[in-house]
C-alpha cells in the first residue's frame, strides 16, 4: 500500500493530491501538465514537495512535518524511465545486475534467469545499450528495475517514446509484471487504452488535483474525470473461438462479442475498452444491421452533460457499458432507468490497443 499526500507549488500551477494505491497496478492518468510525473518524482525522491507525506507500506519515505526525507537511494524503488536511461558504459547483463548489487542481502529478490526469460532478453545480455532497439532498451529497463529488489515499481510513461508497434510489443510485459510479480506498480500514462489494459486502480488527475479514483471501469466511464469524448467502458470477456475471417468470438456476461482478431489462446480472459461515443442504443432489438455486436441490458443511469449530450449507462449482465448519445435521442426514445435497451457496437471500432489480458482477480 502506497500512501501519497503532497502539495507542491510551481509557477502558475499547484499540485495538491491525496490518494492511496492498493497492491496491483495503480495508473496515474491525465494529460501532460496534470502533475503525474511530479508525483512519481516525489515518490522516488528526485523532487521534494513543499509539504506532505509519502509512505510505502510501513516505511515513511517523506514527512515534511516530521522532517523525514529519505534520499532516493534509501527508498529502494525501481524506477522505469520514459527514455530507459540504461547505463551506456555497461553491458545489458551489468545493467540488469546493477540494482541488485546495492540491495540489502535480506531483501526479497527476483531470480535473474527468470526475469531474463520473462522479458525475452536472453540474446541481448552481452550487448551494450547503444546496440539495442527502443523496445529492447525498455525491456532491459523493466528488468533492471525489477531486479533491484524494489518495494514498489515506478513507471513514468514507459511507452511514450516508442512507436505503435513497439508499444504493443512492450505492453504485454507490463501485464505479465502485474500478474506474475508481487510488487505494486505506480504507472504514469495519458493513454486510456493503457489504463484499460493495465490498471487495477486508476487515479485520474486534472490540473494538479485528483479528479476521480477507483477501478478502471468506474473511472474511465466518469465524464467528470475523462471528459465527454474520453469516457469509455471496460468489459471483461473470454475468448471462445478464433474464426478464419479474422474475427475472434468472445463470451461476455451479456452475450457474444465479436472483435477483430484478439491475441491469445481460447479460454483467455481479456479486458476490452469501448469508447462511449462508439456505442449506439436501440429500444427494440435491431435487425438487418451491419454491426455484429448487439448486447442486451437495462438502463442503470442517465447522466446529462453540460452540452447536448447525455451519458447512458447500461447494466449488461453485471458489467457496465456506457453510451454517449444526444439528449434529443434519449428523449425521443423515452429512456428511463430500469428499461430494457440494446447496445450496438461496431466490431471495427475496437482497436487492438484497446484489448489486453485481464489480471488474475478478474479471472477468478
Amino acid at each position: 500500500m502506497l500512501e501519497v499526500s503532497i502539495r507542491h507549488a510551481f509557477a502558475g500551477f499547484t499540485l495538491d493530491v491525496d490518494f492511496k494505491a492498493p497492491p496491483g497496478v495503480t495508473v496515474l492518468f491525465g494529460r501532460s501538465g496534470s502533475g503525474k510525473t511530479t508525483i512519481v518524482n516525489a515518490v522516488a525522491g528526485l523532487l521534494t514537495p513543499d509539504a506532505g507525506r509519502i509512505a510505502a507500506d510501513d516505511l515513511t519515505l517523506l514527512d515534511t512535518k516530521a522532517g523525514v526525507r529519505l534520499k532516493p537511494h534509501q527508498r529502494r524503488l525501481g524506477y522505469i524511465f520514459q527514455e530507459g536511461r540504461l547505463f551506456p558504459h555497461l553491458t545489458v547483463k551489468q545493467n540488469l545486475a546493477y540494482g541488485a548489487w546495492f540491495a540489502p542481502k535480506h531483501a526479497p529478490r527476483e531470480d535473474m534467469s527468470r526475469v531474463v526469460e520473462m522479458l525475452g532478453i536472453g540474446q541481448l545480455l552481452g550487448r551494450r545499450p547503444g546496440a539495442l532497439s527502443g523496445g529492447e532498451k525498455q525491456r532491459v529497463a523493466i528488468g533492471r528495475a525489477l531486479l533491484s529488489a524494489p518495494r514498489l515499481i515506478l513507471a513514468d510513461e514507459p511507452l511514450a517514446a516508442l512507436d505503435e508497434a513497439r508499444k504493443s510489443e512492450i505492453l504485454p510485459y507490463f501485464e505479465r509484471l502485474r500478474d506474475e510479480v508481487n510488487v505494486p506498480i505506480l504507472y504514469v500514462s495519458h493513454s486510456a487504452s493503457e489504463v484499460a489494459r493495465l490498471a487495477t486502480t486508476v487515479v485520474a488527475l486534472r490540473n494538479g488535483r485528483v479528479a476521480a479514483m477507483g477501478p478502471p471501469a468506474e473511472v474511465l466511464g466518469d465524464v467528470g474525470a475523462m471528459g465527454a469524448r474520453g469516457a469509455a467502458s471496460v468489459l471483461t470477456a473470454r475468448i471462445t473461438r478464433h474464426h478464419a475471417d479474422g474475427l475472434s468470438e468472445l463470451a461476455t456476461a451479456a452475450g457474444t462479442l465479436w472483435l477483430p482478431r484478439v491475441e491469445g489462446p481460447v479460454g483467455t480472459t481479456i479486458r476490452v475498452r469501448i469508447a462511449a461515443q462508439d456505442v449506439i442504443l436501440s429500444r427494440a432489438r435491431p435487425e438487418g444491421l451491419s454491426a455484429l455486436n448487439i448486447l442486451e441490458g437495462r438502463v442503470a443511469e442517465l447522466r446529462p452533460g453540460h452540452g447536448p449530450g447525455v451519458m447512458v449507462t447500461l447494466d449488461i449482465g453485471g458489467d457496465r457499458l456506457s453510451a454517449r448519445i444526444t439528449r434529443r435521442s434519449a428523449e425521443a426514445m423515452g429512456l428511463a432507468p430500469g428499461q430494457t435497451c440494446h447496445a450496438v457496437i461496431k466490431t471495427v471500432s475496437v482497436a487492438p490497443e484497446d484489448v489486453g489480458r485481464a489480471n488474475r482477480e478478474a479471472v477468478n
Binding site: 528526485l46 537511494h73 525501481g78 527514455e83 536511461r85 547505463f87 551506456p88 558504459h89 546496440a131
Partner: protein, 231 residues
Amino acid sequence: MLDWLGPEEWRAVALSLRVSFWATVVSLPVGIFIAYALARWSFPGKQVLNGVVHLPLILPPVVTGYILLLTLGTRGPIGGVLADWGIVFAFRWTGAAVAAAVMAFPLMVRAIRLSIEAVDPKLEQASATLGASPPWVFLTVTLPMALPGIVAGTIIAFAKAMGEFGATITFVSNIPGQTRTIPSAIYAFLQVPGGESSAMKLVIVSVVLAMGALLLSEWIGRRVAARVGGA
C-alpha cells in the same frame, strides 16, 4: 642507440620523465575533485576557485614561479612550515614537480570538467533510484563515463609538465641532475659554445615524446569512447 645521448642529456630526459610523472599522478585526484566541484556543485566562491585554477594559464610563467618561490621557498609562509618538518621544495626535483603540476593543472581540470559536464545527470538519478549512494553513483556512473576526458586531461597535463620551463627555472633554478629538465637543459646547452648538437638531440626527444603522448591520447580516447558509446 643508448650512447646517442650523452650522460648529461640522459640525466635531463630521466629527470623530466620523473618530474612529469609525479606532477601528473599527484595532481590527478585533486584535479578530478576540483573538476567535479566546478561541474556539479554550486557554492560561494566558485568563480574565485575557477579563477585561481586557471591563473597559471594566463599569468607569465615567471610570475607563477616567483609566487611559488615566495610561498613555498624555505623562508615563505608555507615553505617555512614544511621546512620545519623536513620537506623542502626549493631547488629540489620535487619543487620542479610542483611547478610542473601547477602549470599543467588548468589544462587537466578543463578537460575533466568538460567530460563530467557531458555526463547526463539523468543517468546519475537513475543510478540513485537503483540504490547507489552518491559516492557509488560517482564511482560507477560519473567516473567511467567521464573517462575519455580524464585520460585526455592526464596526457595533456603530462605533456605540459614535460615542457614546463619558465616557472621551473624561476622557482627551482637550473641545477644539473636536480632541476635541469629537458627545456632547462636545452636552454643551458644553447648558452655554451658547441652545445648546439646536444640541444638538437633534446629537441628531437621532446618532439618524439610530445607526438607519442598525442597519439596515445587519441588512441585511448577512441577506445574508451567506443566502449562508452556502445556497439
